[in-house]
């Protein structure tokens, strides 16, 4: 397809619609207040609501830990806003007094004012760049560690690239050098606290972190990841260098998180062999690896390449951020098994059509992307020469802001429809995948980040016992906006009746039948042992809305409490 053809096709996207007048008026009012320095939100868009939900959970998690800190997973915590100077202010901001702490290698810091980045720890050396206020820099080693003090100034070696969180190999956009982090007893940067999601992160968590945060959180510690081995997307290697296995970008080695989602790319150590037959096709693997491989110290870009003018330390930093896999264990080899009711399936191709009923003439609801995971709710049915299965989107864990009754194509995977499991020629489109079910009851940590229907696929209706911290926030089932009498307690559910893990991870939403006699109020804000089950028989009554079977399925994915009692911290 030529460029002019693409330009014509993309021209069709142009839209001459006008904004809604009421929305325009609301926004103007907000801007008027903003300009007057009195801004108050006039609307609560979806992302704001989601952020609010995350904040509530984070407050609870912080309370659970007794830290009093508000920390969101893998986000850099913003220090006091009063410490940040206006980027447009011409006057030197008032800077905080520097303390005597040594800034460890691997820290992230934010500049409080415009700072010069020098070749050496002295103002007389070559100036690489002026780093504006509010930029994040990464404290690293450049053959030497800080601090270096001279003329009332404390210098540290840092890496910086404008407005990004990872280190690019970039001819002009990134810099390494020495930065004055304090002068005349006043701090010119503030350390940023990175909240690491878990000591044992999952694929989805790593994929969602910035490269710097990954390096800061995990350094060279060993990490084990489970997921589906997916085929890479190919690509053009923009440079060559040594060692090639580490310095070249990884296009063909990636692991997909359970439930689908953004893949996490890795490189394999030279002594790790990769069987190309394992790639894709539903193969599930367990990989072990680490960041900050010692070989990073040797990383160079080939002389004569277009990017050979990279600072040497930039290339080494880039290599330190690679996840180096040292072993690959195949858990389930492809080709995967065909679908079964009550199991999870993944799509093996892009654009699998989902229809209202089995058959090629039924209305199309939409298409599923490669790697999407679904719960098999019904099937098989034979129609038009294909075998059809009823697939349900897995939903998202409770802290994401999604509810089972929301079908939001951007944020909440809530599809429900029929798909064929193979082409007319027999090429598989769907295959059973394993949700990597935690084997034992007990602490909640292994449950963090799992979608509700994965629980159902794992445990059915078997009795489970968990230990966790029950958030202290009071909450009414349904929050007043949802009422499905007499099963409001199960269909609508509580927003903040959450059991969280020992590190504050939101793990499990609890549902309590008011007729059961279980009293959850007396144990809020404490460590508890909870016994209950998924697939509660009462779910059969959730025949609500235009698609009752969909709601029954989601009621089945609830964890219904049968008993709860205080316990000691694990």
């Amino acid at each position: 397809m030529r460029d002019d053809q693409l330009s014509r096709l993309f021209g069709s996207l142009a839209d001459a619609s006008d904004p809604d007048p009421a929305v325009a008026d609301d926004l103007f009012e907000l801007l008027r207040l903003e300009a007057a320095g009195q801004a108050r939100p006039t609307r609560r868009p979806r992302m704001v609501l989601l952020a609010a939900a995350l904040l509530v959970v984070a407050i609870g998690a912080g309370a659970a830990l007794g830290t009093g800190l508000i920390k969101l997973p893998w986000l850099v915590v913003e220090p006091s806003p009063s410490a940040e100077p206006s980027p447009t202010s011409s006057a030197e901001p008032s800077l905080p007094v520097a303390n005597d702490d040594v800034v460890p290698v691997g820290s992230l810091a934010r500049t409080l004012t415009e700072l010069p980045l020098h070749d050496r720890p002295t103002m007389d050396s070559t100036l690489h760049a002026l780093v504006p206020a509010g930029q994040v820099v990464y404290v690293q080693a450049v053959g030497e560690f800080g601090p270096y003090e001279a003329d009332g100034t404390v210098w540290y070696p840092v890496a910086w690239a404008a407005d990004i969180g990872g280190w690019p190999i970039h001819p002009d956009g990134g810099f390494t050098g020495w930065l004055p982090i304090a002068r005349d007893g006043l701090a010119t940067v503030e350390l940023l606290e990175v909240f690491c999601p878990s000591a044992a992160p999952g694929v989805e968590q790593l994929a969602g972190m910035t490269a710097w945060a990954r390096l800061t959180c995990y350094s060279s510690g060993e990490i084990i990841l489970n997921g589906g081995w997916i085929a890479g997307h190919g690509g053009i290697v923009p440079w060559t260098g040594e060692p090639a296995w580490l310095v070249l970008p990884s296009f063909d080695r990636a692991i997909a998180p359970a439930g689908g989602g953004q893949p996490f790319y890795f490189v394999t150590a030279p002594d790790v062999s990769v069987d190309p037959e394992l790639v894709g096709g539903g193969t599930e693997v367990r990989i072990t690896g680490h960041f900050d491989d010692p070989a990073s110290a040797e990383c160079v870009i080939q002389a004569g390449e277009p990017l050979t003018n990279q600072p040497a330390e930039s290339v080494r930093t880039y290599c330190r951020e690679r996840f180096v896999v040292t072993s690959i264990e195949v858990l389930v080899a492809g080709p995967a098994q065909p679908p079964m009711v009550g199991s999870l399936v993944g799509t093996l191709a892009d654009g699998i059509r989902l229809r209202e009923e089995p058959g090629t003439s039924a209305p199309i609801l939409g298409t599923l992307a490669f790697g999407s995971w679904s719960y098999v709710a019904d099937g098989p049915r034979q129609a038009d020469g294909y075998t059809w299965w009823l697939l349900a989107g897995l939903g998202l864990p409770p802290e994401t802001g999604c509810t089972s009754f929301e079908s939001d194509p951007y944020n909440c995977p809530g599809w429900y429809g029929w798909a064929a499991d193979a082409s007319a020629e027999g090429d598989p489109w769907l295959a059973t995948v394993s949700p990597d079910c935690p084997a034992e009851s007990g602490p909640l940590t292994p449950y963090y980040g799992r979608p509700p229907l994965a629980y159902l696929a794992c445990f059915g209706g078997e009795s489970r016992t968990y230990v966790g911290w029950l958030l202290a926030i009071q909450d009414e089932p349904g929050g007043g906006e949802c009422s499905w009498e007499p099963l409001t307690w199960l269909a609508c559910g509580p927003a903040y009746q959450l059991l969280v893990g020992p590190e504050g991870e939101p793990g499990l939403a609890l549902y309590v039948d008011p007729a059961s006699g279980v009293d959850i109020g007396g144990v809020r804000g404490s460590w508890v042992t909870v016994n209950g089950r998924f697939d509660d028989p009462a779910a059969a009554g959730c025949t609500f809305g235009p698609n009752p079977a969909y709601y029954v399925l989601h009621c089945r994915s609830r964890f219904v409490v049968e008993s709860i009692e205080p316990t000691t911290a694990p």
Binding site: P19, L307, A369
Partner: protein, 183 residues
Amino acid sequence: MGIPVTHGDQAMRLEAIVTDEATFRAWYDAVLPRVYRYLLSRCGHDVALAEELTQQTFVEAIRRRRQFDGRSDAVTWLCAIGRNKLVDHFRRTGRDQRRQLRLLDGGNDPGISWEAAEIRQSVETTLDRLSAEQRLVLVFRYLDGLSVREIAAAIGRSESGTESVLVRAREAFRRAYGGDLDA
């Protein structure tokens, strides 16, 4: 051509415009539809998302108004802010969108022909199968007409890296444009 920040024939600083409510409103009414349409066309015609990004764009513009001196085109400046908001949004949500069902829009837009609507639908459906970064670079290249250097600056990659993404995105688009895997 965008709409310059003008009052009469005299270019004005945005800082001065917001001090008078009537002038501010006139400027806002002139530029809002252009910025909104720019974002609406680039976020899959998701009205709620376009409204949200438009709000973020204007709020940031007002906060940074001292940086705009009126010598360049206001809509160009606003769209550059909006482009950053788009990049932020797709980086934030790309991993979720990749695995999600795209709900087909069965409605008709009276403003465009059936044939044009069908092409738009096909392009959007195809784009939805690409990664967030691939969608962005294709839209920036073929709808905005940005250079590789400008795209690289927008998405925080090197020019060679951006060219590599573009090559892969074109190939993925070409493959996917043929149609769904269907039954």
